[in-house]
């Protein structure tokens, strides 16, 4: 966002291209840095988390190709119904559910829903949270006080309750689709970004480079966007990843309670779980296990990734790796004498001492 404020390039010649490449390289190396710098448990968490999340992302992006059936499909192409509570195997890898949906397809489509909702929610809450945090931190005074009060009262509400209220209010106007769920979750996470960004802004505001910008004659808006924003968003990726994990749970919770996405709109793991509750007692395990497992894996992946990032990027808990070195015992002393008129090597210390003695 910070770099986007450069005026439209009028002469993207060789120079501009070279510069663009530098930026791209810097951006890529910025992404790669945590992976390169991490080690030990942090590295394990980061990489296993990333693998899990990527797996889920692939499932979400290619769900039309991966899923054999649609998410609300109860009959195959010939019009023959699947039948309810079919055991896993054959045409239905994960079996079918009470309503006769193919569980595997539901799980795969569910990934798409989860990813879409979480991404939307993250984008909204990041945008609003960061913007408000920046404003509150930079302007201070009454703006700060009012915003902090609103955010604190939002924060005081239990997350799920807040999401339910927002979902309930929105359902009347927007309907029960992905957008509603995303907005409901957005409301939950805005205060978190707000707090982090506000705190970072307040401390960054006192930096000399901000005063330097004022001395240059920059307007407050320029200072905020060009000098503060890029420096205060650095802790955001970690929170965003951890919040994404939390958001999956909130989404599933909404679905489970029936305030989330309507089954006709998209496949949703929480809703499936809720429908499977009754099955559990009758020995039908597959309807509950697979959506549940999907939730656990995605949440675990995001959490591992977030914690791994935190461990490598947060200076407060980052442990510097101790690189063990072997110190050559006296090789330098001998090495510098190797080619000299031999024989003096062993006597360095005593010679030095003698000289010292003379000095005294």
């Amino acid at each position: 966002m910070a770099t986007a404020a450069v005026p439209p390039p009028s002469d993207m010649g060789d120079v501009g291209g070279g510069r663009g490449r530098t930026r791209l390289r810097r951006f890529l190396s910025g992404i790669a840095r945590p992976y390169r710098n991490s080690h030990g448990v942090g590295r394990f968490m980061l990489i296993s988390g990333t693998v899990l999340v990527c797996l889920m992302l692939v499932m979400a992006v290619f769900s039309p190709l991966i899923a054999p059936y649609g998410f609300s499909q109860v009959a195959d192409a010939t019009g023959e119904r699947f039948g309810n509570h079919l055991e896993p195997g054959g045409d239905h890898w994960f079996g079918t559910s009470t309503q006769g949906f193919d569980v595997f397809s539901r799980v795969v489509w569910g990934a798409r829903t989860a990813v879409t909702v979480v991404l939307l929610a993250l984008a909204f809450s990041l945008f609003i949270g960061v913007l408000l945090g920046l404003l509150a931190g930079f302007i201070g005074r009454w703006v700060d006080r009012v915003l902090v009060m609103i955010m604190d009262s939002l924060y005081a509400l239990p997350a799920l309750l807040l999401a339910i209220v927002v979902a309930f209010l929105l359902a009347e106007h927007v309907g029960g689709g992905t957008a509603t769920a995303a907005l409901a979750i957005t409301a939950v996470y805005i205060p978190q970004y707000f707090r982090v960004v506000r705190a970072a802004t307040i401390s960054a505001k006192e930096q000399t480079y901000v005063e330097a910008a004022r001395a240059m004659g920059a307007r407050p808006i320029t200072i905020m966007l060009r000098y503060l924003l890029s420096n205060v968003v650095q802790s955001v990726p970690v929170i965003a990843t951890l919040n994404a994990a939390d958001a999956i749970l909130t989404l599933a919770g909404l679905g489970f309670l029936g305030y989330g996405i309507q089954p006709t709109e998209a496949s949703e793991w929480g809703y499936d779980l809720q429908r499977a509750v009754a099955d559990a007692g009758t020995g039908i395990w597959w309807t509950g296990l697979f959506p549940g497992l999907a939730i656990v894996l995605l949440v675990m992946g995001l959490t591992l990734m977030g914690e791994g990032l935190n461990e490598t990027m947060n200076p407060a808990i980052r442990v510097r790796r101790l690189v063990s070195i072997t110190m050559p015992s006296i090789d330098r002393a001998t090495a510098r004498r190797d080619d000299a008129a031999g024989g003096t090597a062993g006597t360095t210390g005593s010679v030095d001492d003698l000289r010292k003695g003379d000095v005294r």
Binding site: R320, R321, L322, V323, S324, I325, M327, S329, I330, R332, A333, A335, R336, D339, A340, A341, G349, D352, R355, K356, D358, V359, R360
Partner: protein, 340 residues
Amino acid sequence: MTEPVLSVRELRVWYGTEHGPARAVDGVTFDLRPGEVLGLVGESGCGKSTLGRGVLGLLPRGAHLDGEVIYQDRNLVEASAREIQRLRGPELGLIFQEPLTRLNPLLRISEHFEETLKAHEPDLPKGEAKHRSIEVLRAMGIPPTRYRAYPHEFSGGMRQRIMIALALVLRPAFVVADEPTTALDVLVEAQIIGILADLRRNFDTSLLFITHNLGIVAEACDRVAVMYAGRIVEQGPVNDVFARPQHPYTQELLRSTISLSTTGLHYIPGAPPDLINPPSGCRFHPRCPKAMQVCPQRFPERVPVGPQTVECWLHGPDELMPDGGREILVREEITVADEA
């Protein structure tokens, strides 16, 4: 000729980094005699702080120590952490750069002193502890009226005096002062330097005075050791070293210092070397105005020159000089791109 309080022989402190070992201190030898103030000067990153802490065994994890630090017939390099811990305070003291961060804001000055004394000399009666503390504070110029004040009631200079008093109340034989006046104002700095220079008269304490300011060394120290890239390149009595510097680095450093008598600007081109891959041979040769052919080839020897000891091929020894070693070294021009 008295026995040195502390003698350091071929001390090396290396830090492990991702790119290889950083040779912060690389073969340093010096002696500290009783009641002597030894100034340790160098630019930032030359390893002078590491040396000061290495001598006291106060290094972060990951630092490797090698060589000898002989104190009272014991080699501190090989001593256990507990042993050094016991010595620290009553025998070895340390004065830091930022006095505010080292005093507990919730404790009165009196409590700081009484705690310290109790920890190291538990048999000392309370009245005696107070008396001793007030006496030391008095010597530092802190009036007895302020004995029960809190740290925040003192100015920066006063706090540094308190820190010095706190280090001295245990009557250590040896104190390391790491840039003790850097954060202070000119006048206060001069006052503190005066106090430190008087230490030997009042307390019989030896002092290793780490600073980057050559003027302070001239004012406060008996002897000076000039450090460059982990080595002591020149050491000797202050008056001799400053009047007749023998190592080109000392000469250049003295010339580039701006003092009241400065009439023209002078500086050393280039930047201090990377401690992970230091230049071959003499580490100063890429910046040295007098570099010779031999300089990048061989490590210079420690050579006595008058009262000084110098690590520079200009002063020989001739028997180790290879053929043609004295010829001028041709180097690439140093640009701002390599500047510090």
